[in-house]
Symmetry: C2
């Protein structure tokens, strides 16, 4: 295996020494970049962009040409899995992603296809391989998946939701159906992420975007349990390299201790928690990723730098911090502000790594 | 002042002995009740229902005729204040409440009317007086307001929002404008709630529905600070009776200690936190209200009872628990299930009050 030219991101996830705090941005390849919009137009619709290894690679690399990011993340969608399982993904102008055949009963779950990562989902693995080739070991490539619970919300609600009433009805009225769905999803995510690692992903992240809509008990039963199952079966090293894993539950700050118990290497933090508090609670056990409010990128360069400084000071000295936004970058952020942010993390963090 | 026939709710808020745990439901007067829909049709549009003291009274009392609730809550809307300040509230089919004249600059804030609670907002006070008369001291009447931050989100975003980018731009780029808006709102809420108390509200609640979208620092600066200001100026007793105050920040579980520091009598909990944890953290200082997932009301009577039992056991022995849902009741919940819930709280809580 060739060495990474910049391995700050991987080292930070393993709480090893770095010269400055590594930084990347959730949704760094996306609509706030004019060059992304150009490629998107070339592709036609969004899923065609995901399905083309060359175009997915192109947009994955775009933010790295602009900013000194310490990691690339595979350009894809969390709904590739439900689509490959046979639900018929499509996108609407007003309501975002929808499914033609959502899950509402036991038969629907029983009928789900178990997708082959190098079959129905091979386009994702092809994108990983292409991106790795084009990255030329400059920075590591992050692979990712949605968590079983988060994927299930889309599959049962037939798309995005505000109050998650359909899936909660299932959780409270017919929990065995939901557990059977979550179990199938966990197996699929294991295969999917392991295939991404085999194709070249050097770290993986699980996005539990909707775990925070559950009560503490239900979070354990319906989300964390299945992420733990995934962690137990993931390649934690491949081709002689250790593969760090990050779990991110949005609005999951009250469960950091339980998330650390899963055996993940890093916990992704949304912006609502004070990072000093998070470090005090679990920082001896796992690395932390985060956590600037993405809306701070609307502010002036001075204000952005001030916020970066506050978060760096909150984490303080010591290893195990990957700087990021607390959620995806907003689509109307000026790219110049993202540059200010990335540079500020590097410039202002040197003093914490002496 | 005549004595309340059922004062469980007030006693629980002051952590006094009760025979069983009091219970009410957020949005208990609402669309899940067929009789509500009938009155709503009679009124025409939603604001006409709010503006008619007789009809607002009618819907306020409807759930009390069905269920053995321990409190009534004024039927009104949190957007009465921005409307009275001159923003021009209207309702759309698809996107809920909107404002004709949202706030975007200093001039907009300077031009805001300071509403007179017995002038522009007299219809609310008339509703309070009518409801108190019709309640005949059976149970206490809860008055309420949105928090300054929550009201400001609607006023700046021009309605509901998903990512709150407009108000965050203001918070991060021109914080002095937002602070001046929040300060005006705090003064208005003080007048509004004090007028409700003078008109007959026996307890008040402040809903900070959107405080949870802020970072810890920003929550203090933009939300909690102004709720503290309100608490410092509210009538804490009136006509010889103490008036308990409840603060509810949805997704605010990480800040319970700071919320207790405001001097409120009770903290409203959403459903995501384990109530035993909340009690351990702040239960010696304040009462707690909550916290069943509103979606649990879709489940079977047995499952609802089981969940009520779990939450009662979580709070355990001792005073200071008002049972409620962790958020408003969903509009498609069968009213029979709400009855199961209310009765279960009373039946199953007796053993904790011996």
């Amino acid at each position: 295996m060739p060495q990474l030219k910049n391995d700050r991101y991987i080292r930070a996830l393993f709480k090893q020494d770095v010269d400055k705090t590594p930084v990347w941005m959730m949704r760094q390849a996306g609509r706030y970049l004019p060059e992304y919009k150009t490629t998107r137009e070339k592709a036609g619709d969004f899923m065609s962009l995901c399905r083309s290894a060359d175009l997915a690679c192109e947009v994955t690399l775009q933010p790295l040409h602009r900013f000194k990011l310490d990691a690339a993340i595979l350009f894809s969608d969390i709904l590739t899995i439900p689509d490959a399982m046979g639900l018929g993904l499509y996108f609407t102008q007003d309501h975002g992603p929808r499914f033609e055949r959502p899950i509402s009963c036991k038969k629907d779950v029983d009928n789900l296809i178990t997708p082959d990562p190098e079959g129905e989902l091979q386009y994702v693995m092809n994108a990983v391989r292409t991106i790795r080739r084009e990255l030329k070991n400059e920075v590591p490539l992050i692979g990712f998946s949605g968590s079983p619970w988060t994927l299930a919300t889309y599959m049962v609600e037939a798309g995005t939701s505000k109050s998650f009433t359909k899936i909660k009805k299932m959780a409270f009225c017919e929990p065995q159906i939901l557990h059977s769905l979550l179990d199938k999803l966990a197996d699929t995510v294991i295969n999917y992420l392991n295939a991404q690692i085999e194709a070249g992903a050097q770290s993986v992240m699980i996005f539990d975007t909707w775990g925070g809509v559950l009560s503490s008990r239900d979070y354990n039963d319906f989300s964390l349990q299945y992420m733990t199952k995934i962690l137990d079966s993931l390649h934690r090293s491949f081709a002689g390299k250790k593969i760090p894993v990050t779990l991110f539950t949005k609005n999951g700050n009250q469960w950091l201790e339980q998330i650390a118990d899963t055996g993940c290497d890093c916990i992704g933090l949304d912006w609502t928690i004070d990072i000093a508090t998070a470090k005090m609670r679990v920082g001896s056990r796992v690395a932390l990723q985060g956590n600037m409010d993405p809306s701070m990128l609307y502010a002036s360069p001075e204000r952005i730098k001030q916020e970066v400084a506050t978060i760096l000071e909150g984490f303080g000295n010591g290893n195990g911090h990957v700087f990021n936004l607390g959620h995806g970058i907003h689509l109307d952020v000026p790219p110049e502000n993202a540059k200010v942010f990335v540079d500020a993390v590097h410039d202002l963090s040197v003093k914490y790594h002496k």
